[in-house]
Structure formats: C-alpha cells, structure tokens
C-alpha cells in the first residue's frame, strides 16, 4: 500500500479584487485525488479559506458564452450561468449551448436553458435583444 503525498500549492484567491496569494497544503492519494486540505495561509479573510477548499475539491466558475439568435437585431445573445458551475463541466456545457437557438425578443435574465447539465443552475440572457 503506497502512502499519500503532501503537496504545497500557491494560487490567488479570486473571490474579491484583493486577489490574496494563498499557500495551500494538501494531501493527495496515490491516484492524485485530494484527500484533505491541511492548511491555507496568505488569505486576509475567511473567504480565502473557503475558496481554497472549493478550488481543490471542485473548482467552480461562471460560464459565459453566446447563443445564436433567430429574428433579432443581433446575431448572438450573450449568456451566462446564473451561478458558478463546476469548471469540469464547461466543455460539455459549451457543446450543448453551441446547438441552441433562441428567438428574439429577449430580456436580460430570461432563462435560456433551465438547470444546465443538472447543475441546478440556469443559463440566462445577459442582455436585451430586440426584434430585427
């Protein structure tokens, strides 16, 4: 039975504009999976600690892209996930979104695709689009 490895990582917290440089000690199993986040230093508020744990277990990001518009005065509608979703799902989400077409008119915050990839998060419009 091989032993777990201890690793020191450095990355910036992106929760707020302060962008604290975090130093994180993690324990990984032989297959690379994070067993435990042992310590987080360099953060100037508790959000840094929470961010580091999330980042090492399941990094979350808001996905923004575009959707083709039919009958609008713009060709594309900018869209976003209402909340951050797992980064690991972004590529899959992009292939799904690439095939979508929405009809104008559209209002900002309209739901373009509910519960994207069962994340519980909706894909929503970022802008109004008027009719052509």
């Amino acid at each position: 039975m091989s032993t777990n490895a201890i690793e020191m990582l450095q990355f910036n917290c992106t929760t707020c504009p302060s962008e604290c440089l975090l130093t994180v000690e993690v324990e990984r199993s032989p297959d690379g999976a994070v067993v435990e986040v042992r310590s987080v230093t360099g953060n100037s508020c508790p959000r840094g600690n929470k961010f580091a744990h999330q980042e090492l277990t399941c990094p979350m990001r808001v996905l923004t892209t575009t959707v083709v518009v039919s009958g609008g005065d713009e060709a594309l509608l900018p869209v976003r996930t209402a909340e951050a979703i797992p980064l690991a799902l972004h590529a899959q989400a992009m292939s799904l979104i690439r095939g979508l077409v929405v009809d104008a008119p559209i209002r900002m915050s309209d739901v373009v695709l509910p519960n994207l990839l069962d994340t519980g998060t909706d894909l929503i419009a970022s802008m109004d689009i008027g009719p052509a």
Binding site: T66, V68, R98, G99, V101
Partner: protein
C-alpha cells in the same frame, strides 16, 4: 476561352494603367492583363506618392526625360482623372558647406533636365516654407514643381477612365507562357498569345508593363533578357497632422534619394526610402529598416512624433541590373513587343510621361493610332464624404441613407462610399481593395473597428459568404465561417 485584342498590356500597376489610359483614345481594342486580383499591387505600392520634380536623374537618361515631363503632366492628369494632387514644392535640405555644393550640382542637373524654378535658399526662407524643417538646415534646394498624389488613386483613376473608354481589364490572370507567331509586327495578325489561368489572350501588339515581373514577361516572349534586382522600398505612414508637411529630402547619395519625409494628399506624414537589395519577392519589413526611416526622418523634421505610426510596409522596386535607367521602347528582338521595364523610382512621377512616350514609340513603329470620336478624357471621381462640404453631405444622405451610416470612423467613410468602391468598374474585390479606393481601414485603428463591417458589405455586394472575403489576394481569407448555429 481565347479573346483577341489589338493590344494587350501586361501589368495593372501605375505604368500599365497610365499606358492603357493614354491609348484608350485610339480606335484599338485593348486588354489589361493583371496577375493579381486588383490594381497597383506590385511596385506601385512601394512608394510614398511623391511626384518628384526630376532634378536628380542624370541628364540625357530616359528617366530624366520622363520624370520632369511626368511631373509637368500631373496637373492636367489630376484635373481630367479627378484624383488628388498637391503641387506643394519641396526642399532638399543641406546642413553643411559640402551639402551646399551638392545642392548646387543638383540644381544644375535639374536645369539640364528642364526642371523649372529651382533655387538655393537659406534658413529664413526654409522656415518660411516649412516651419517644421530642421533648424540645423543651413541651405536648401527649393523646387516648386514637386508634389504628391495617392499612387493607388492615380492607377485606379487611370484604369477606370480606360475601362470607361472600352478597355478590358482581366484580373487574376498571371501570364504563364507567351506564344509568338511568325510574320511582321504590322501585318495585322494577332501574333502574341498570352496563356493565363483566366483564359488566353491573343493580341497584335504586346506591352510589357509588368513591373517586378517585366524580366519574366520579356523572357517568355523570347525578347531582351533583363537582369532585374529587387530593391526594397520602405514606407512608414504616420497619423494625420493639422497641416501636411512639405516634401523634405536629404542630399541624395549616388544610389538613393535617402530618407524622405512628406505630407500626403490625405494629411498623413509619410517617411520613405529605398532599402537594401533583397531576395526577389521579399516584401517583409525589418526592424532595422523601420528604425533607419524614423531616425532619418527626425533629422529633417526633429519634432516628428514617431509614436504615431499608422502602418509600415515594404515592396520591391524593379531595377535593371547594370543601369539605373528605365527601358521604354520596342523590343529589338521581338517586333510588336513594347517594353516599359525597370520602372523603379521615380515611376509614379513619370507615369503620365511614360504613357506619352510609349504612345510615341508605338506610333513611330507604325502602329495605326486613329483617334476615336467618342473618347472621354474625364473621369468623375467618386464622392468623398469626409471632404464634402456640409451641404453636399446632406445631399448625399438625402439621396441614400447609407451615406449617413458610418463604417470607418477614423477616416469618416460611410457605407455608401464603400458600396460605390465595390460597384465601380473596375471595383474593389477585397478588404484592401476597398481601403485603397475609399480609405476605409486606412486610419489609425487599422480597421480594428470597421473590418468586420467591411467584410459584411463585401460579402453582400459580391454575393459570397464572409469566409470567402479576402483581405487582399487568393489565400488571404479573414474568417473561417460561422462559429455556431449552422444546421
């Protein structure tokens, strides 16, 4: 598919276009055969638009004759063809007694070449004529007949006028082979066959105005074996100034006029110089060349803000090895072939006179030149929104709302002006072609704001997909196609 003409002109550079315009007044069928997809894409690009007065070519050379005469003809050509021409005068700046001696030699040279009103002037007069000229200049050769044009506009205007008078323009037709049948040049038979991917062209007389390709054309026809070298011309364009600079030259060296600074018809500042001899076809810019231009320019105009570079480019100027002169005449080997070869600097300044001389040479060779009754020397220039007075602007927008739809903000080019550039004959078929005709994308942002709009207009007007729109010639695609949503 073969088409037959009395005359085929190979090359739609400023030389070929000027010759076509000159010969269009005669009862002849003429075809201009161009390798590229547009006008003036070769050597005609590699210059700063100066209409040099003609004081520096060695007296007695062909160059000396056509340069001074060309400069003289520009006034009439500009009037008839509706292109912008500013006869500003120029100064060759001297900084020492040695320079002054050179300037005096240059003045004598100019007088021998028939250049009018040359004078050596001192610092007071220098700064009266161009307040931004270097305060270190102690003397100058003042030459009132120098001017400048937009070389693309001249070539385009000349060919538009030729086409309006019945000349055929074949683009994307690189000559791959030339067959020459036997017989006399003047017996009326179409002796020459030009093989091109766009179809063959047969003609009785062939005019070689192929610029950097002139040696190849001559070789294909079995005529003179010109040895050509590729001397790079380098150009740096700076942003517009409230007042355009007068052309300023340094004292020339035996091979080059040196680094020249000039205003342009559009109010930009252009720095230009001949650079090293390079591999044929090399149109790359080099850091050392660009820096040499900027340094040289500041010697003439110390307050030049060289941060304001809008574009730097380079091109080849065809020089016949062993001579610095132009070759304009009938081939001594292949009668019926007329050559305008080695048209390097001052090719732009000389173009109208090269055309005139070519006409003379052909007449002497027995080519029947009968004037047409319906020849129209006038070309009506397209409307230029930016330059139009307010009342004309209003009229234009009233005639078509697309005149009020801005596309290029740096140069104030509305959509209708771009559409006109595409619809004129011969019209623009590429983004750069649009730019050369109406300046959309020519400005300080270098099409960062308008390129996608110009692509959309070209696609609409040419009836093609945006992915088929070219920046310049074959292979220069701009976008691959839609990102998403195509089912």
């Amino acid at each position: 598919m073969t088409k037959t003409f009395d005359i085929a002109i190979v090359g739609a550079g400023i030389t070929g276009c000027a010759i076509a315009r000159q010969l269009a007044r005669y009862d002849l069928s003429i075809c201009v055969v161009e390798a590229a997809n547009d006008i003036a894409l070769g050597a005609s690009k590699a210059n700063g638009g100066l209409v040099h007065a003609g004081y520096d070519p060695a007296p007695g050379t062909v160059k000396a004759q056509v340069n001074a005469r060309g400069c003289e003809l520009y006034g009439t050509w500009a009037q008839e063809l509706g292109f912008l021409f500013c006869r500003t005068g120029s100064m060759v700046l001297g900084f020492s007694d040695e320079d002054r001696a050179h300037l005096e030699k240059l003045r004598q040279n100019g007088l021998a070449n028939g250049v009018p009103e040359l004078a050596i002037i001192g610092p007071d007069r220098i700064h009266e004529l161009e307040p931004r000229a270097s305060a270190d200049a102690t003397c100058a050769l003042w030459c009132p007949s120098t001017g400048y044009v937009d070389p693309f506009e001249v070539a385009i205007a000349a060919l538009e006028n030729a086409v309006a008078n019945g000349v055929t323009f074949m683009r994307s037709a690189p000559v791959e082979a030339i067959e020459v049948a036997g017989g006399e040049a003047t017996d009326g038979a179409a002796r020459f066959t030009l093989v091109t991917p766009a179809g063959d062209v047969r003609c009785r007389y062939l005019i070689n105005a192929a610029g950097n390709g002139a040696a190849d054309i001559s070789h294909m026809a079995g005529a003179e074996e010109f040895q050509m070298v590729w001397r790079q011309g380098n150009i740096v364009v700076l942003d517009k100034e409230p007042r355009a600079l007068m052309p300023l030259y340094p004292v020339p060296t035996p091979v080059s006029k040196g680094v020249i600074v000039t205003g342009t018809v559009h109010g930009n500042t252009v720095i230009t110089a001949a650079a090293a001899v390079r591999e044929p076809g090399d149109t790359q810019t080099y850091v050392s060349d660009v820096n040499a231009l900027l340094t040289g320019a500041r010697k003439l105009v110390p307050d030049l803000d060289t941060r304001r570079v809008v574009r730097a480019f380079a091109g080849g100027r065809p020089v016949i090895k062993g001579t610095n002169d132009f070759f304009i005449g009938q081939s001594a080997v292949v009668p019926g072939l007329f050559q305008a070869a080695g048209i390097q600097s001052p090719g732009v300044a000389s173009a109208p006179a090269i055309a005139e001389r070519m006409e003379h040479v052909m007449r002497e060779a027995g080519v029947a030149l009968r004037e047409r009754a319906d020849w129209d020397p006038i070309r009506r220039a397209p409307d230029d929104f930016d330059r139009a007075p307010l009342a004309r602007k209003e009229e234009l927008i009233e005639s078509d709302p697309a005149w009020g739809q801005i596309v290029c903000r740096c140069e104030t080019v509305p959509e209708a002006e771009i559409v006109a550039a595409i619809r004129r004959r011969p019209g623009a078929v590429s983004v750069e072609g649009v730019k050369r005709r109406c300046r959309a994308g020519m400005g300080r942002c270098q099409s960062g704001f308008c390129q996608s709009r110009v692509v959309a207009i070209l696609a609409r007007e040419l009836g093609c997909d945006p992915s088929e729109v070219l920046l310049e010639d074959t292979g220069s695609w701009l976008v691959e196609g839609p990102l998403k949503g195509v089912r």
